[in-house]
């Protein structure tokens, strides 16, 4: 029935440690967490590991299995070859406490910094009325079980401790998005706050967080991108900055010259290559009107495409399994530069004047 399988498990604490080899009996139908429990009950009673519900609902048993951030209770032994050595290590982004247990207090600090739900002042308890279709968008993010795998995989902080101060991470971007989309939330500057205080601009949409989410929340597509698209302040956003370089915005007199107000939302949209922006994003009616005149609304806009997935239906994880060095293009692999002019949503201020 059972068979001996090879495991390498990181043992140690903040002063250091290394991988220890174990040969463990594995029975049919078991998951990695079962194997850890067996080890605790036999040769390693003090092996430290968090767990709780063992049904993929609490998000406690986050660990890295063969280098991939996973929940121990959701990783079946049958997904490995009989002869394969399974390597289990603690989450890399957070300081180790002992063995597989890490200090995840970073996440709780960021949670405390994220402004809470602001109840509408004039609605009494029991009088809240919302439509299902409106709550569903936020409900997707409220599925989050706080396993912090997205925080762990996010390369803004994974190997850059110095970014932790200014960056809240995907978990809290979707918390901001959730509140932003809450039909009755009375706070109106969630996006701006995310940009200026939570470090939304650091994110360059490699979608690693979405890929590791055990709840299959579309963190990037449904949470981060819509916020990035509509956020007014574009100064700190490297994506917009990059977009500006590519489109030479810096040298072109902008519509904002007349309004004194940036039309950043529109340009930011264009920079996402394929995901075109919504008119009205600049909140400046004269700039909008002017922009609209020069826009060819019939132009062919590439459809948003699904991410390129591998044979298992998952995005190839960047650092370990991706077929090239460095992260994939944040614009999508199917976008080439320079963009064809007909794809651009841009109005040159003098475009209607006769050419010399």
């Amino acid at each position: 029935m059972g068979s001996k399988r090879q495991f390498r498990i990181w043992r140690g604490d903040e002063t250091g440690g290394d991988l220890k080899d174990y040969a463990v009996e594995v029975n049919e139908g078991e998951v990695v967490l079962d194997v850890i429990h067996r080890l605790q009950a036999t040769e390693a009673p003090d092996l430290a590991c968090r767990w709780n519900c063992k049904a993929g609902k609490c998000g406690s048993c986050s660990m890295e299995i063969n280098g991939k951030p996973r929940l121990g209770c959701m990783t079946r032994m049958s997904t490995f070859e009989e002869t394969e050595t399974v390597t289990v290590t603690p989450l890399r982004t957070f300081p180790v406490i002992r063995d597989l247990v890490t200090d995840v207090s970073f996440n709780y600090e960021k949670a405390r910094e994220t402004p809470a739900f602001a109840p509408p002042a004039d609605v009494a308890p029991g009088d809240y009325r919302m439509q299902q279709v409106d709550v569903e968008r936020s409900q997707e993010f409220r599925k989050c079980i706080e396993c912090f795998l997205c925080q762990n995989v996010c390369h803004v902080i994974r190997d850059h401790d110095e970014n932790k101060q200014a960056f809240s991470g995907p978990r809290f971007f979707i918390r901001a998005a959730e509140l932003d989309m809450h039909p009755l939330d009375a706070k109106t500057d969630r996006k701006e706050y995310a940009q200026s205080e939570m470090g939304l601009g650091f994110c360059n949409i490699t979608k690693c967080c979405t890929e590791v989410c055990p709840e299959h929340i579309k963190i990037t597509d449904n949470g981060i991108i819509p916020m990035k698209e509509r956020v007014v302040d574009r100064r700190y956003d490297p994506l917009v900055w990059l977009g500006n370089k590519i489109f030479r915005r810096g040298q072109v007199p902008q519509t904002s010259a007349t309004s004194g107000h940036s039309s950043g939302a529109v340009t930011a949209g264009a920079a996402h290559g394929g995901v075109h922006s919504h008119a009205g994003g600049s909140h400046d009616s004269s700039a909008e009107r002017q922009a609209q005149q020069g826009v060819n609304w019939q132009r062919e806009v590439p459809h948003p495409t699904a991410p390129a997935v591998d044979s298992s239906g998952k995005l190839p994880l960047t650092e370990l399994t991706f077929d090239r060095a460095a992260a994939p293009s944040p614009f999508g692999d199917d976008v080439e530069f320079p963009l064809p002019p007909e794809h651009l949503n841009f109005a040159h201020p003098q475009q209607d004047e006769p050419k010399h």
Partner: protein, 637 residues
């Protein structure tokens, strides 16, 4: 011992447990202006409450306007077979809607009706659609909402005092091992940080217990590791009493194999949709277990049973659809007769009965759950199922209005699964989530009031702290004792096999003997390694709690000579109205569990008047019925 470092904290109210009840209690204490600590065995937000799927029962009448608190009260009493503390059931039914609406002001997003109100769904035992829900993750929504409310209170304090922790602080991954008393008054709580193994002492005049249940004493359970009966045991040792400990809710079909999903529930609709139970001989054994009282309604042949699914009007129901306790009893008997599966269950087969496509369409969540968690394809192979321990109705005996623990101790409060009485002998689905909110708020509020009334703060005695340190360190200092894992396994075998879903006098007596042996072995348990995040040590300390609570359950189960709700005695298979008038109360006398009988509080006339006589006659004794008749006559005149 004096050299051991102990971190000291002063609080007004200490809440032990960070599930729904604990968080709600803490919010209330903080809103009352008290300096409040929340002690969580896990990380903040990981409590077992997240496992609740169905919803929170509250008679808001959003879907059916005929629903009201009286109907909810009736359903709750019926579900608990009239053993409930009526006042708790009344408060619960009256206050649940406000508690749910309040969650919306904290940011909760429930599923909606067409007119934008909170949607409510049907559930077993509830007369009208009553469960506020969010898909099948209502418990998660509840925890997250309360967690975020606490964060928002901390943000207020940060603005006012410059510190998030000024008035409410969460001690994550911290376990309390002992309550400390000053005479008969609570003076504090002693425990350790799981992460570092360092000790911590909370000096506080009021403690709210919200530690959940006891399921980890059972082999097959849907409960998490935290459910070691800590609060039950802490209360007992502090001089409080437990009631109704014989009542445990078992679900007849929990998965027993593969191990990765052991204990997880298989919904009853698998059987409703054609799933059949088979033993290891491949025999559809339920036909042998139809009791006489049900004989007329259930099919006698497989052919007839199979025809029922398509033609229920002209055929009788298949015996797989007997009530839960009958099915559980049958499964239990087959396993004990040696016709079980290797993992100790029976087969639940839907694969050979329905097409794969139909199974996926009718049971999508079951299909996905097993595919994802266990790689079991229920369209191709039978499931292995057996009764799984789900919820403990029994718990700390409390004053229904304030949640103050009964017994000799003052300043101790309890709410949620750790408290007893609300659900009587059997809990209705959906009532636990609203229970948490209603009684969590009450316990937190009354704990705050209690501290106001104190003339002086009780003092923690140094000797008590030293004793607590010694007890906590003992397993690490022994190296001759047994492994805590082995002891837990042995305890689970005793409870699962002898104090399980179907009980017999001989087995219960046997269990008590074995628990006494285990007690000696647990007293000598040893844990290897150091104090830093050492799960073996943690378990060694939990064991004595599990043991004393198991003794309460076994003793009460042996004493109650009837079958009612979550307590089934094979030798006393019927409900006995005389036993309905009795609560079995456990207390601790030195080291031994003492059991006493206590009469149930009598329902107020206007409440008992909500029931009709025919129904009451099933539960009440003749003298109680005569009293009821006198009441109705009085009302008619």
């Amino acid at each position: 011992m004096t050299e051991t470092r102990i971190e000291r904290h002063h609080y007004d109210v200490v809440v032990i447990g960070a599930g729904g009840a604990g968080l709600r209690a803490a919010i209330e204490a903080r809103l009352a202006g008290k300096k409040t600590a929340i002690i969580s065995k896990s990380l903040f937000g990981k409590a077992h409450t997240v496992m609740a799927e169905g919803g929170a029962a509250a008679a808001m009448g959003n879907v059916n306007s005929r629903d009201n608190w009286q109907v909810h009260f009736r359903d709750t009493m019926r579900g608990g077979k009239f053993l409930n503390n009526f006042r708790m059931a009344e408060l619960h039914a009256k206050e649940s809607p406000q508690r749910i609406w309040e969650l919306e002001t904290y940011g909760a997003l429930f599923d909606r009706t067409k007119d934008g109100k909170i949607s409510q769904r049907n559930f077993g035992g509830h007369e009208y659609p009553r469960l506020a829900h969010v898909g099948d993750r209502t418990g998660l929504e509840l925890i997250r909402t309360l967690q975020q409310k606490i964060v928002s209170l901390q943000q207020e304090d940060q603005r006012e005092f410059g510190s998030y922790d000024a008035r409410i602080r969460v001690f994550a991954e911290t376990t309390v091992t002992e309550l400390l008393l000053d005479g008969d008054r609570v003076a504090g709580a002693f425990g350790y940080y799981r992460e570092s193994g360092e000790f911590v002492l909370f000096e506080a005049p009021a403690v709210v217990l919200a530690t959940g249940g006891v399921g980890r004493s059972y082999k097959v359970t849907s409960n998490s590791w935290e459910y070691t009966g800590d609060g039950h045991a802490l209360a007992l040792r502090a001089g409080a009493t437990l009631i109704n400990m014989e009542f445990l809710q078992f679900h007849p079909t929990g998965m027993v194999w593969p191990p990765s999903v052991k204990g997880i529930l298989v919904t009853e609709s698998v059987r409703g949709d054609g799933g059949v139970l088979k033993n290891s001989d491949g025999k559809r054994f339920m036909f042998d277990y139809v009791p006489d009282v049900f004989r007329k309604q259930y099919a006698e042949t497989e052919e007839e049973a199979d025809r029922w699914y398509t033609d229920p009007d002209n055929n009788r129901r298949p015996p797989e659809l007997l009530p839960r306790d009958e099915v559980a009893r049958a499964i239990n008997s087959e396993v004990k007769a040696g016709r079980g599966t290797p993992a100790g269950g029976v087969y639940l087969d839907i694969a050979s009965r329905k097409s794969a496509e139909e199974i996926r369409r009718r049971l999508p969540s079951m299909y996905h759950q097993f595919k994802e968690l266990a790689d079991v394809d229920i369209t191709k192979e039978p499931m292995e199922v057996g009764p799984t321990c789900h919820y403990v109705m029994g718990g700390v005996e409390v004053d229904p209005d304030s949640g103050a623990a009964a017994g000799t101790v003052r300043g101790l409060f309890a709410a949620g699964e750790v408290s007893g009485g609300m659900h009587g002998s059997n809990r209705l689905g959906g009532n636990s989530l609203s229970d948490l909110l209603v009684f969590g708020k009450r316990a937190g509020g009354h704990a705050a009031t209690y501290t106001d009334q104190l003339a002086a703060r009780p003092a923690v005695s140094v000797a008590a702290v030293e004793a607590a340190v010694e007890t906590a360190l003992a397993p690490l200092q022994r190296d001759t004792g047994e492994s805590p894992y082995q002891l837990q396994q042995d305890l689970q075998v005793v409870m699962g096999d002898l104090v399980g879903i179907i009980r017999r006098e001989g087995e219960l007596a046997d269990a008590l003997g074995r628990l006494a042996e285990l007690r000696e072995r647990v007293a000598k348990v040893s844990a290897v390694g150091g104090r830093r995040y050492n799960p073996g040590w943690h378990l060694a300390l939990d064991l004595r709690n599990m043991l004393v609570v198991s003794e309460c359950t076994a003793k009460a189960a042996l004493e109650r000579q009837e079958s009612r709700g979550g307590h089934t005695r094979e030798d006393y298979p019927a409900m006995d109205p005389k036993w309905r008038r009795v609560n079995l109360v456990c207390s601790l006398d030195g080291d031994t569990v003492r059991l006493t009988h206590k009469p149930l509080p009598k329902m107020r006339p206007e409440l008992i008047g909500l029931f009709d006589r025919a129904e009451l006659s099933k539960y009440l004794t003749d003298s109680e019925l005569a009293e009821f008749d006198a009441l109705t006559e009085e009302a008619n005149n």
